[in-house]
């Protein structure tokens, strides 16, 4: 006999795909955790790097920031960190903004602003690295 659970109206195929009614399944949850895991070493790098360069002047700061390793780490920190912020803000807004229009609008604005800021940060680091 079929192992299909008779207490659900969903088809066996829908259950196997496990994507739910929004068709995204656990994607959002998974990306929040994936970025969280990556941010553990990235955050520690950022904090230690900032502390090390606290007394540095402009030239020293730029020399550090434009080096390939620092630039790559800073770009990763910003890209992963701002993406994590956007994912987290979406959940907070979904939970606390109850007017449907305001909810969707605030999520869109938050995501646009965060991805724009991330792009600005990355371009700034690249400008220092490749120098113009």
């Amino acid at each position: 006999m079929s192992t299909h659970n008779r207490n659900t109206l969903r088809t066996p195929l829908a259950l196997a795909r496990g994507l739910g009614s929004a068709k995204h399944g656990t994607d959002h949850w998974w990306h929040q955790r994936l970025t969280a895991l990556a941010l553990i070493p990235l955050t520690l790098w950022f904090v230690i790097a900032v502390i090390i360069h606290l007394g540095a002047d402009y030239v020293e700061m730029v020399e550090w920031l434009r080096s390939p390793y620092s630039a790559a780490m800073m770009i990763l920190f910003v890209a992963v960190g701002f993406h994590h912020a956007a994912a987290g803000m979406q959940v907070v807004l979904e939970d606390y903004v109850h007017n449907e229009f305001a909810k969707i609008a605030s999520i869109i604005v938050t995501k646009f602003v965060l991805y724009a800021l991330a792009a600005i940060c990355i371009v700034s680091v690249l400008k220092l690295t490749f120098g113009v």
């Binding site: 955050t43 920031l65 700034s124």
Partner: protein, 129 residues
């Protein structure tokens, strides 16, 4: 029932006995929102570095002011709290430490670790500065 059905409602905050686990839960969200606002300062700082010495001096001047230092101290704690509690969440996601005793023990560890790491970072930072 207030929602017109017999479906169960979760207890309202006003009749909910205070527990450390719930305090840490909402603090995780508040620090997350606070850190999101902090992306503005990181952006300003990196743009200033790319723009040149004058713009960078302006940004550094703000960060070095009493208000800037206050913000930095708050963000340092928020960062360490969110980091420590985030690791606690990842432990839960892996299926561990769900027992009430362990959930509370984790809450104490996170709260103490966030304060200790913040003070440590500032003591080392002020010595290095």
């Amino acid at each position: 029932m207030a929602n017109g059905s017999s479906r169960p409602l979760s207890p309202h905050l006003q009749v909910y006995r205070f527990q450390w686990t719930m305090a840490l839960s909402i603090t995780h969200r508040i620090t997350g929102v606070g850190l999101t606002i902090g992306t503005l300062l990181i952006t300003w700082w990196l743009v200033a570095a790319a723009a040149g010495p004058d713009a960078f001096a302006t940004a550094q001047g703000f960060i070095g002011s009493w208000f800037g230092m206050l913000l930095m101290f708050g963000w340092t704690w928020a960062l360490f709290f969110h980091l420590a509690n985030g690791i606690r969440h990842l432990v839960w996601d892996a299926g561990y430490a769900f027992e009430l005793q362990n959930a509370e023990r984790g809450a104490y560890i996170v709260a103490i670790a966030s304060i200790v790491l913040t003070l440590l970072a500032w003591i080392i930072g002020l010595i290095a500065w």
